[in-house]
Amino acid sequence: MIELTNDEKRILAAISFCSEEIESGNLCDADIKLLEEMREVKKYLGEKYPSYTFEITGCDPKAGTIRDYNEWYYKALEVERDSAYIATSKEIGDKYEIKDDFYGEIIKNEALKQLEEILSKQEIPIIKTEISFWEYLGNEYKEDISATEVLKGKIVAGNDIKIFLDDTRLGDKNYNATVKKVENSLKNEGICGEVYIVVIKDFKGDPVKDRLFSDSFSLDH
């Protein structure tokens, strides 16, 4: 018999046909493995980011898919966000190789600050910038991960930078020239990643509905 929390029961019951066994704690082998993995993921997140409290909220298991890892959905109680974060867990021998996307939350503000400082030197009329990361990173980087190292590609995180510009403050309506200007200023500072630029009709405009132009470029070492 294994003692499970209500959350563990709820998550397992959603990914296993053995609902009665889960309720009673008399788990089948496959569910014992999933429970063990779920607990490992939670422990990993707690140890990696000690300033945060994590809750596993769900799982998209690999069984029946072409993936060789399970996706564990989780949230951090300290962060207000509708959407879940995702950790991946791959079984290697008797261990799990766990990676997560939460580091992005940790470095996001600092990375944006650095980007805006670079762009402001060129008087580029920014409405807002966004940054996200494509890679899932493992235990090799902890809560003190450096935003600068990520931005400059020393830590390969798959940087994805979005820059929204205000058309009313763009002196030159040749958008391609503006894109080039942004590209050069970021390149000169050694920034890495995919950059996506959207020109919006004015600073109150909606980035989806009021866009006038968009283009992207890649900054790789």
Partner: protein, 482 residues
């Protein structure tokens, strides 16, 4: 589309969007369509990004169940000349945080017609079937409620049209949202399963109000849409040939996509549903109706488990699923039902045989149908002694395929005894297999409550009231006369 569906999307575009939902790691992590990182990009930006990395996409590798890199490249090339589709903006990507089984969805915006398109991915894992069959015993299901909750958080200001879509379980979610939220203008459910009788009865008023907005896009041989009662208009489409997954590929989102010589994509209407699937649809409906709500969860889980094992194409796994002690009672109930059903509708055996063989199964197990049907009493009495049964079978010159199959699967004997017992109690014609229609089957007196009164009951009540009035009038006349 025009007509009752106010969307500006064509069926082809809807099918392509539903294919994009499954794109994962095409040429690297940036090739994942349903990623929050894609927010604010257009579909065109995504396609261009993927095609820039086309060399990194391996043609023969499966990138989602049943769909290879080469097939995904075809999808990308088909989207590339479509300016309308390419200009659609990815407004919000959502990873479900409340539904324990996960799930991803996207809110797209078409600036040309100010149309919001909310699309739900169907999950691909085996766990999908836990959700898929929960609709048999839950009204509404957890995943339906969660999808509706997220939909209701979306900001549709500035949108002239709201369209929802989704494939498989995503299709079911999109139909549910259309039924429950009057703001939806159009719904394209792609191979999505239907709803239980209890659901149809409970939400009959809402269904009647909104079902004209629902258009079901269905591959002619798809096996998911046959679950439960469909709502809305149905159109079947021709399927492409099966590949590596055999019959299971009928449920892949690209199963109805045809390409011309220059890579242009189209879908072709089929005259109707594949006969074997409509046979299975009717049988499943009538079987589910024969199961009491109190035991339906067990039966649903057995069905889910059987389907998961059936998808693998492994006969031993399928037998194991049937004889698993957790489900053996429910499995026996289903098998007994099929055997009795076959007596009334023999064509079901041919349909089952075709489905099983296309899925790579040993169809000799179907020989058991006649054996059990003809030897029910024998099985009840000596079925638990495999040696005795096999001996009698051999004495009677039973086909070697049957005796061989049973010898190799002795774990089946206990199940077959149970089947034989249950067969006597089943009347396969008691319940109709036709889809329940909210329009004509029942009248909901109090919407969204449990009180549902059928037309027949109302007629009986009305007749009773009339008789009482007549008796009262006759008595009154009699009293007045005396």
């Amino acid at each position: 589309m025009g007509g009752e569906y106010t969307s500006n999307m064509t069926v082809e575009e809807i099918v392509l969007i539903n294919n994009l939902l499954y794109c994962e790691n095409l040429g690297g992590p940036r090739g994942t369509f349903l990623s929050k990182n894609q927010e604010s990009r257009t579909i065109g930006d995504y396609i261009n990004g993927v095609l820039r990395n086309a060399a990194k996409i391996e043609n023969d590798k499966e990138y989602s169940t049943g769909v290879t890199g080469a097939e995904y490249k075809e999808i990308m090339w088909a989207i590339r000349p479509n300016e309308h589709l390419k200009n659609i903006v990815i407004k919000e990507v959502h990873y479900e945080s409340d539904a324990a089984g996960g799930g991803r969805s996207v809110y797209l915006f078409d600036p040309s017609s100010k149309e919001a398109i909310v699309a739900f991915k169907g999950t691909q894992s085996d766990a999908e079937w836990i959700d898929n069959v929960s609709g048999l015993y839950q009204v509404p299901t957890e995943y339906q409620s969660n999808a509706l909750s997220w939909f209701r958080t979306l900001d549709f200001s500035g949108c002239d049209i709201i369209t929802v879509t989704g494939h498989s379980k995503g299709g079911n979610k999109s139909k549910f949202i259309t039924i429950m939220d009057d703001r939806v203008d159009s719904c394209f459910s792609f191979d999505g399963q239907g709803f239980s009788d209890e659901f149809i009865q409970k939400y009959a008023v809402r269904i009647r109000q909104n079902q004209h907005k629902i258009f079901n896009v269905i591959a002619e041989s798809d096996f998911v849409n046959i679950l439960l009662n469909d709502v809305g208009k149905k159109q079947f489409y021709l399927g492409t040939n099966y590949g590596r997954l055999g019959f299971a590929e009928n449920h892949c989102a690209n199963a109805i996509v045809f390409y011309d010589s220059v890579g242009g994509m189209s879908v072709w209407k089929a005259p109707g549903q594949d006969k074997k699937m409509s046979d299975l649809d009717e049988m499943l409906n009538s079987f589910i109706r024969s199961v009491r709500m109190t035991t339906r969860e067990k039966v649903a889980r057995m069905l889910g488990n059987v389907i998961v094992n059936a998808k693998s194409g492994n006969t031993d796994n399928l037998i194991a699923a049937f004889s698993d002690e957790r489900y053996s009672d429910s499995a026996a109930q289903l098998i007994a039902y099929v055997f009795r059903y076959k007596a009334e509708k023999p064509e079901i055996v041919a349909s089952l045989r075709e489905v099983l063989s296309q899925n790579g199964f040993n169809t000799e197990m179907l020989g058991l149908v006649d054996f059990i049907t003809n030897h029910g009493i024998l099985m009840e009495f000596i079925g638990k002694k495999p040696g005795a049964v096999l001996g009698i079978l051999k004495m009677r010159h039973a086909p070697e395929s049957i005796t061989g199959f049973l010898s190799n699967h002795q774990e089946l004997f206990e199940l077959l005894v149970l089947v034989a017992r249950k067969m006597r109690k089943i009347n396969p014609l008691r319940y109709s297999g036709k889809d329940l229609n909210a329009e004509d089957e029942s009248i909901v007196i109090r919407a969204e409550s449990r009180l549902v009164i059928s037309k027949r009951k109302i007629r009986l009540i009305a007749e009773g009231v009339l008789i009482l009035i007549a008796i009262f009038l006759i008595s009154l006349l009699f009293v007045l006369k005396t």
